[in-house]
């Protein structure tokens, strides 16, 4: 099996963007628009209008000026595709996709069955992982979804390694039997699909099954159905990703705090010291260094959870009438 080396593809790129290529238009952090480049068309977004003519012939990663701002034109990857998908409900995000692909042991040459197809987010990730000589069979009961993803695969040059199928795997099983290396399930009743999955897997090579469930009760039933179908090493894993925010770090001395308040560098009022404040040396000693904080930055308040841990570590000297608490206040 060979891949078309000509034509648009998530797998191969020419140095410059051609008509028919899928590009990811990076507008701002968190806002990306996937677009198939076509002469005569115009993309409308936050920064105004961008005519596709301007995109064609440019290099990937180029910064282009739209009518009201700048955007970047990026090569599509499965990660960018997932992040920029317009249908943002109920899709699997990058962290989950990565974990699923790892657990399925997807690699070039792997044959994988998936159900349901859904938005095609994971389908793209799997297809790219098994390329160029593997294959993805993706099943869904919704024909319109299947058609949509089939169209996307074609546009993205992935048709030859993917087969979208309209089929209910819970009742009718999978498109292949005794053939695949891995089965991924994201269906409401995985326990019904699991015996079919066992039949879809290659008897000689063995294989893996991964079932994604949004709730505990499904997980519990899926676990026992897997054991009953002869699967071993059944494990339940939840991926909890955390994103950190990198912010300019601002360290104040207590003197600076007394003088300026809990102000971040930009807000710091430049007042002349009039003798009242002692030991005032530097305004923002560490303003240029960066520090990572959790994405959920506190709004100037200590959150309850931290505070209660603090209280317990401190022990009896707090919230106790005999010991007194000294509170420093501005």
């Amino acid at each position: 099996m060979t891949l078309a080396t000509k034509g648009p593809s998530f797998l191969k790129y020419n140095e410059r963007i051609e008509e028919g290529d899928t590009v990811i238009v990076y507008v701002t952090f968190g806002q990306m628009i996937p677009t198939v480049v076509k002469r005569g068309q115009t993309l409308m977004m936050k920064y105004g209008a961008l005519r596709h003519e301007f995109i064609i012939g440019k290099r990937w990663g180029q910064c282009l000026s739209a009518s009201a701002g700048f955007v970047y034109i990026l090569r599509p990857t499965s990660d960018l595709w997932t992040r920029s998908l317009p249908r943002r409900t109920q899709i699997l995000y990058t962290a989950d996709c990565a974990e699923i692909i790892a657990l399925l042991d997807c690699k070039p040459g792997s044959v994988i069955c998936e159900s349901g197809t859904g938005s095609g987010s994971l389908s793209h990730a799997i297809a790219l992982a098994v390329a160029p000589n593997g294959h993805l069979y993706t099943h869904d009961i919704d024909e319109s979804r299947t058609k949509k993803v089939q169209e996307e695969f074609k546009t993205h040059g992935l048709s030859e390694i993917t087969t979208p199928v309209v089929q209910n795997v819970c009742t009718d099983g999978f498109f292949v039997t005794n053939a695949c290396d891995g089965v991924f399930l994201d269906v409401p009743a995985p326990w019904d699909a699991i015996p079919h999955a066992a039949r879809a897997l290659s008897r000689s090579r063995g294989g893996r099954i991964v079932s994604f469930s949004p709730c505990m009760e499904q997980v519990q039933r899926a676990c026992l159905a897997m054991s009953a179908a002869g699967f071993v090493c059944v494990e339940t894993i939840e991926v909890v990703p955390e994103q950190k925010k990198i912010v300019g770090q601002h360290r104040q001395t207590l003197e600076e705090f007394e003088e300026l308040g809990d102000a971040y560098p930009k807000m710091a009022k430049k007042r002349d010291s009039d003798g009242k404040v002692v030991g005032f040396t530097q305004l923002v000693p560490h303003a240029n260094s960066s520090a990572a904080v959790p994405e959920v930055a506190p709004e100037g308040l200590i959150v309850d959870e931290d505070f209660d841990r603090i209280r317990d570590v401190v022990g009896p000297s707090f919230r106790n009438q005999h010991d007194r608490v000294v509170v420093l206040i501005p």
Partner: protein
Amino acid sequence: MTPPTTDTAANIISNGQYLIVQKIDGEQSRIIRFTPKQKILIEKLKFTADSAFGKPYGLFEISSGQCLPMSVDRLIEELQLQEAAVATSSEPAPPTTVTSSETIITSDDRVVIAPSALKLEPEQKRQKLEMDAVLEMRKQGVSGQEMVQKLVEGSASFQTRTVFSQSKYIKRKAKKHSDSENSEIALTDLMGAVAQSIPCVHSMNYDEQTLSTFLPVRIKCVLAEKQLPYENNRRPANGEAVENNGDVEMEEKEQNEERKVEEQDQEALARRNDRLERERKGIEMIETENAHSLIIGSRTVDPISVLELLYAKLAPSASIVIYSPHQNMLITAYDWLVKRGAINLMLTDQMCRILQVLPDRTHPLMAQHVAGGHVLTAIKVIEK
């Protein structure tokens, strides 16, 4: 050995109090100071503060802008009435027809199970069966309370379904009331919310008992203390003394305003004197090196700046607890403490996961990282 009962008067909502207002199963809880004629608005729910005065903290029902205390008994009673209605309903709507939040309380709603599996034949059959069983129990005159008991004790199947639905029912009920401007809210006093109160301890109306545990000291005084203002035989005995103290001047705008108020209001004067007296005690406590713990919580102040001022004054075996959203601040504080021989150093982080427990759909909520920072702890010891 009889249990000490808290004074009932302490549980009564009064003018000027800070209260936590929370809509039952609402999204947010807010701290609001209740003053006369004030309109309180929370999550589309409106009522006058006056209507809460004189009533004990607890569960309220909002009706035509008024706060009415609501007993749990009545809540359970209403629940049972609603259950009876379910039992006598003859035409339950199919579960999949639930469309809007307004119509969400259909008579069938209590036994809607596992929406994610609704498309499947066996699931639907099971629901049907259970619905029949529930109706049968109703016919036999089993009360709601009894039935809950039976279900909890009985089959796990019923247990995880029907009564969960009941819990959901209560939530939905609250929601419906909300839509019709008639919903339960909870009013709680602020005592427990010390976390939020510390930055504003000087302005909040704590009760006598709580106040006595706080000794607010202005940072200005602690910094000035470096030059020993109180040791200079100028230890202030009351507010006046502090005001006459040249090292710690009080020409701040706020202070001036307060002085005006003072002239008009003897009560305010007494409060102020009390505050300054407590400040003196606080400074004294710092000086006698008897503090058993030091807690530093700030977004921007370098903890080392505070440690340099106060660490030497802590009693040996005291705990040091430092919170910061910035890990780097804590790392430098860690190095500082290690150099001074502090022991049992720990840098911890914490995640709180909220699980949504629903019939056949128990799942963790996505937004779960509550703690926006790290905590460094240590114990001061007498070095070898």
